[in-house]
């Protein structure tokens, strides 16, 4: 459920097809995001999940799996 939403947001924001996404994919190296894309992506997660992701946490997020793990902990799923 949470994974599905994360995949959808990444797919919409970065224009990458959902079936190309997997937890090991790196946002910048594998999915072609630049630093501004990542900022916008983080904003979208904050909106969708009603959480605040501080900059120091955001800096640690590199892969799709990192996002899922972080959000699971934050949302408490």
């Amino acid at each position: 459920m949470l994974e599905e939403k994360v995949y959808q947001i990444i797919s919409d924001q970065l224009g990458v097809e959902k079936d190309k996404l997997s937890p090991d994919k790196k946002l910048i190296e594998d999915l072609g995001a630049d630093s501004l894309d990542v900022v916008e992506l983080i904003m979208a997660f904050e909106e969708e999940f009603g959480v605040e992701i501080p900059d120091e946490d955001a800096e640690k997020i590199q892969t799709v799996g990192d996002i899922i793990a972080y959000l699971k902990e934050k949302v408490g799923e």
Partner: protein, 412 residues
Amino acid sequence: MRRVVVTGLGVVSPVGTGVKKFWENLTKGVSGIDRIRRFDPDQFNLSVKIGGEVKDFDDSKYFEPKEAKRVSDFVKFALACAYEAIEDANLKKFDPYRVGVIVGTGIGGLRDIEEQKEVLEKRGARRVSPFFIPYGISNMASGLIALRFGFKGPNYCVVSACATGNHAIGDGFRLIQKGDIDVAIVGGTESAITPLGVAGFASMKALSTRNEEPKKASRPFDKDRDGFVMGEGAGILVLEELNHALRRGAKIYCELVGYGATDDAYHITAPCADGEGAYMCMKLALEDGKVKPEEVDYINAHGTSTPLNDKIETLAIKKLFKDHAYKLKISSNKSMIGHLLGAAGAVEAVATVKTIETGVIPPTINLENPDPECDLDYVPNEAVKYPVRVALSNSFGFGGTNACLVFRKMKD
């Protein structure tokens, strides 16, 4: 001095996207002015409810969906024009450092400023888009054109209100003349028909309030004119050093021979009453192009449809051309497309080049009852066939700024 020719054209306008459709409608006297559709003017109690909006633009040709959401319309319009103009010029091989891009805008990303201000107020600073600044700043049209095509020469944006387009073209002309570059992608772009943009110009009483008859609202040189109508769009020209164009067998539309620029130093928005600034600007442009006043066949006028501009531009033309002022042809594209502000000079330069190419002068529509103080031949209501060898294109802007270009048919 090196000679400069025009080898490519691109347009996005209220009467059509693409030079072909633009030119067809312009020469048929079609008005692109309607009630504003992108937002509801009544929601903001705007006294002005009309504008020349672009209606047939498809950004999916130039942008992936994710980029399309972020990029400002003024940048999109300019990029689309650049693709058209560069394809028209068939410019495929080039030394990247010898191609410059100078595309101006009068106002830039106004819509983005309005939208992001609302985000800031309603949702907080952390929700302001990271793409707001890069895609809203005025030089991003030039920047994105360079990025897409690999042009590595001088790259910047001219901002001089309604004279922006002419200044950008003039700057590119000078850089080629002097030898800094061989090719210049030049022009102007604008998309400022927004609630705040309309409200601002309306507060100045600069705009026509003929809301019930949008297509009759822009009526340059007519005695019942009551202000200009805002338009949006972009125009791009490919300027090229003559031998560079000849060597690669490029199609040459005409030569750009003269450029003049002055300032009234008189008032923040009103033109000086005796037309001195506009007169000097045209005079310097003719001298720069070594053209005698009697050689001029046509003037693509600034012709805004404001009470002051049309009267004073007419006065300046008479002062410079004397008896010949009554023989040459004059027309205002703004009667059909409205005033494209920072894009006006560029779009009108495209029309001027087409006039030289085809020998057809687009009309000044809605010229039903000429103002007695505007007594020249403004090609009223219907296009005329007329061989044009030398043409001027005027643009004047707030801040008292004036810029004039002189185009000349190539000698066979």
